[in-house]
Every structure is written in C-alpha cells, then in structure tokens.
Symmetry: C3
Subunit: 206 residues, 3 copies
C-alpha cells in the first residue's frame, strides 16, 4: 500500500517537474519541440544523471513508457492550456515539493542498495531531485536557480539526513520514507512562506 502511495507521489512529482520545464521553455518562446524536450529534461534529468553515475543502464525512463507518456501529456497540456494551468500554481508548487521529496528518497535508496556511504547516498538523492532543474537552466542559458540562495537542495539534504538517522532507530522504512518526504515538503513550504534563503556569505570575505 505504501508502495502504491509512493508511486502516485512519484507521478505527481513528474507532472510538476514536467510542467515547470514546459513553462520555462514557453517563457523563452521555444518551439513545441523545445517545450517537450525541456519538460523531459526537467522531469527525468536528475534520475538520468543518477543512473549514469551509478551505472544503472539503460537509464530508468528508457525502460518505462509510462514516464514518457505522462511527460508528453503534461508538456502538451501546458503548451495549449498554459493560461489555465498557471491558475493551479499553488497545486503545482505542492506537487513539486512532493516530487522533490520522493525523488530524494528514491535516489538515496539506490545509493543504499549499492552500499555507498551515507554522505554519498544523500548526494545521490539530492542529485536525483535537483539536477533536472539544473540541466533545464543550463539548456535555457541561465545560471541554475538552485545555486542562488533559495532553500531547495537544502530541503533534500535535510530530509535525506533525517531519513538515515531515523533508519538507525529501526523504524519501518516505508513510514520513515513518508516522514522524510513530509519534512522536505514542510521545509519547502516554510521557506517559500517566510521567504527564507541561505545566508549571505560575501560581506568582507573576498
């Protein structure tokens, strides 16, 4: 049951990430092909980079039609009904936060399966969750958003660290995963609600 639950969040996250990629492409007036590619890259870029780094090939989306179909559908719906989709920006933000949480946990679990060390597992989770957005920004010729003071990757690192700590208490992995995802969603909501950012560090330092 938890498994199905995580699957549904995975799909919601993929939709949110794909919509974010499509909107970024549309803001730059890319053509429909560009919009589809940016949707794909944003939704599957992080997991693809993770699979490449650990050598899990063919990478996940090549073996799973459902992912491609969901992303294609999201891209075209965003393309043709962008104005209406935008009205759901709060829903999309929530999906995005949930996606961030699930993707972090999925990446972290892959690291654990390979017996990689805790820090590296957290890095893999963060890469899975955040690097689709990095590739999206690079393709659109922007310096990646997540390098610019927003609390985004930090949420993944916090959630991932908590998961590994709680795991030592012997708590059920599925329950622990859901708690970690909730923490990541919570950190994101708090960060946006109170406009929290990473501290400035440049005063008098260079």
């Amino acid at each position: 049951m938890e498994y199905n639950f995580l699957n549904i969040i995975d799909i919601l996250g993929t939709i949110a990430f794909a919509a974010s990629g499509a909107f970024s492409a549309m803001e730059r007036k890319l053509d429909p092909f560009g919009v589809v590619i940016l949707s794909f890259v944003t939704a599957i870029g992080g997991g693809t980079l993770r699979d490449i780094l650990i050598g899990s090939t063919p990478v996940a989306w090549l073996r799973n039609d459902m992912t491609a179909i969901i992303i294609l559908a999201t891209a075209f719906i965003t393309l043709f009904f962008g104005r209406y989709v935008k009205q759901f920006h709060k829903t999309l933000f929530l999906f995005d936060a949930m996606g961030l949480g699930v993707f972090t946990l999925i990446g972290l679990e892959k690291g654990l399966q390979l017996h990689l060390s805790p820090g590296i597992c957290i890095a893999l989770g963060t890469i899975t969750a955040c690097f689709g957005g990095v590739i999206r920004d690079v393709l659109l010729n922007n310096v990646p958003l997540i390098f610019q003071r927003e609390i985004y990757a930090s949420a993944c690192i916090i959630g991932g660290t908590l998961y590994l700590l709680v795991q030592k208490t012997g708590m059920d992995d599925d329950v622990n995963a859901i708690l970690a995802i909730l923490v990541i969603v919570f950190v994101r909501i708090i960060a946006i609600r109170y406009k929290l950012m990473l501290p400035r560090v440049y005063e008098n330092r260079m």
Copy 2:
C-alpha cells in the same frame, strides 16, 4: 552493399557535423583547441549521449580511431581553409541532412536491439542525430538552435516513425532504412527551401 553505402553516408554525415561545429567555434573566435573540441562534440555528442543512456560503453568513438581521424582532419581543414569550405555550404547542407538521416536510423536500431518500445526507439534516434548540436550550442553559451522553430528534430521523428511503420509490412530492413533516410533528407530540403517552421503556439496562451 547497402551496409557499405550506409557507412559512406555515416562518414559524410560526420564530416558535415564536424564542419558545422568548427564553423560555430570559429564564429565565436575560439582558439584551435576549442575548434577541434567543438567539431568533436558536434559530430559525436549525440551518439555518445545515446551510448551513455543505454550503457553501451566504452562509447563508440573511443573504440574507433577512424571517427576521431575524420573529425580532426575536418576541423583542421575548416580552420585553415574556412573561406573555401564555406563555398560548399550547399554540399555541407546535403551532407548534414544525410547525416541526420543515418544517425537517426543508427540510434533507432540500437533501441530496437535492446527491445525498447517504439516511442523510446524514435527518441533514441532523434537524440543520436540532434544532441551533438545541442551540446555544441550549450558549450557556446547559446540556447540550442533546434528548440527554436526550425524543422530539424521533427524530420528525425517523421523518418523514424515511418521506418517503424514500414517495418511491419515486412519490407527489407536495409531498403526501409534507405527510404527513411531519404524522407528525412527530403523533409529537411523542403523545410529549408520553403522556410517551413513549427507553428507558433503562444498567441493568447500564457
């Protein structure tokens, strides 16, 4: 015989892609090393990304000196005789269109060998043909050209789809491949001749 024929087109396509990378680098006044790298990346970037995604490593160009030698030679000829090479721009366009066709079919075939689904195979073909240009544009700090309304990747998708449809009729694979490549070349010629582009989609939609 068909096999040799496809090999020759493969080489012509590699030359056209390498020349395109060299010209892009020269327009930005990169140094000779930069010109060589951009030639390489444009010519082998798509196939390399495909090999990495499906886990076919060491990637193709590492195991085949001939590719590297052809690209190096093209880069230096373009570098030193750029003015003269440019006179052959129509020839280079034709080589490029043929390369687009062959690379699409090569990528698609690799997907079929791995028993990936039809849509994914077409995606692999398109990646093989188009993503060398994407990496070239990213390295030169441009938003990738193929995301901007030109009919380029679309030609690959059309050709790849036709190939898979015709394959079901039981036609000989080599003949089918040559037909699909001709279709891709034809779509490219028509698109350039009549300045066809993907439709605008932004009126009143955001």
Copy 3:
C-alpha cells in the same frame, strides 16, 4: 613510494581544482550550496566524464569518501576565508598545474588499461584534466575558458604524448609518469610567465 607521491599530488590537485570552482562561484555571488556544487564539479567533473565514457561505474568519487571530504573542506575554507586563500594564488596555481599533470596521467592510464589506441588515451587524459573546468564554466554560463587561446589543454596533450613516446623506451612507468607531470607543470609555468597563447588563426580565413 612513487604511488604515495602521486596520491599526494592527486589530493593537492583536487584541492586546487575545488578552490578554483569555489572562487568562480563566489565571483558570481552563488549561495553556499552553489559554491559547494561548483567546487565538486570542477574537482571531479573531468574524472566523472571519463568514467562515464569508459563505463567505469559507479564513478570514482561515489566510491571514495575521502575525495568528497577534501572537496567539502576546501569549499567551506574558500567560502569563509576567501580573502586569505587568495593570497596563496601562486601556491594554488602550482597545485592546479600539478593536478593538471596527475589527472592527465590517471586518465591516460585508464585508457591504456582498456587497450584503447594512443590518440584516444591522450584524449581521455585531457578530458580528465580539463573537463571539470569546462562543466564549471557551462554551469556559470560562460564559454569555457580553455577554448580561448590559453595554453592549458595543450599542456596535457604535450605531456600525454611524451609519456607514450618515452614508454616505448622501456623506462619505468612511475618515473615516466613523474617526468610527464613535470613537463605539464613546466609548460603551464612557461605559458603563464611569458603569456604564451595558441596562435591566432582567423586573419583572412573566413
């Protein structure tokens, strides 16, 4: 003993590369997370790309905590004591040159182990040494520095070629490696000291 010696240079090179990535990120006012990522990417990007191209996965830094710890420490020290770290810019230049040498040799050796051809091995060495900087520049939205007339990759190509030539004389591999690294360091020092650059090639050629 030589092995430990190379290990130490490897660590010094990693520190220099990580510091270079951190400084680049700080110049663009990235947040602390961005600074850490740019440090990582600069230090391990080249080796990671090499491992992915040859299929040596999980890539090196996933299996070696020490690398991650050294990079994290360098990133934070640079972040908080940047002004002081900058005073050691000559030391960092020397570390960088040594890193360039060691990373070239490490990449080249991996190619030899896979029985790849000499030219391809030199390319792998150059990729290992130089492409961390390329990825750093792409993430910061700059055209990669090493494509712009500086003698940097050229030093790797010269050192790598010498190593392969001297190897045929039957010289001990460790001694040969140290000689090749010294040549690369020497070329870098001469290039910076006398402001040597690759020749201009654009007069009357386009």
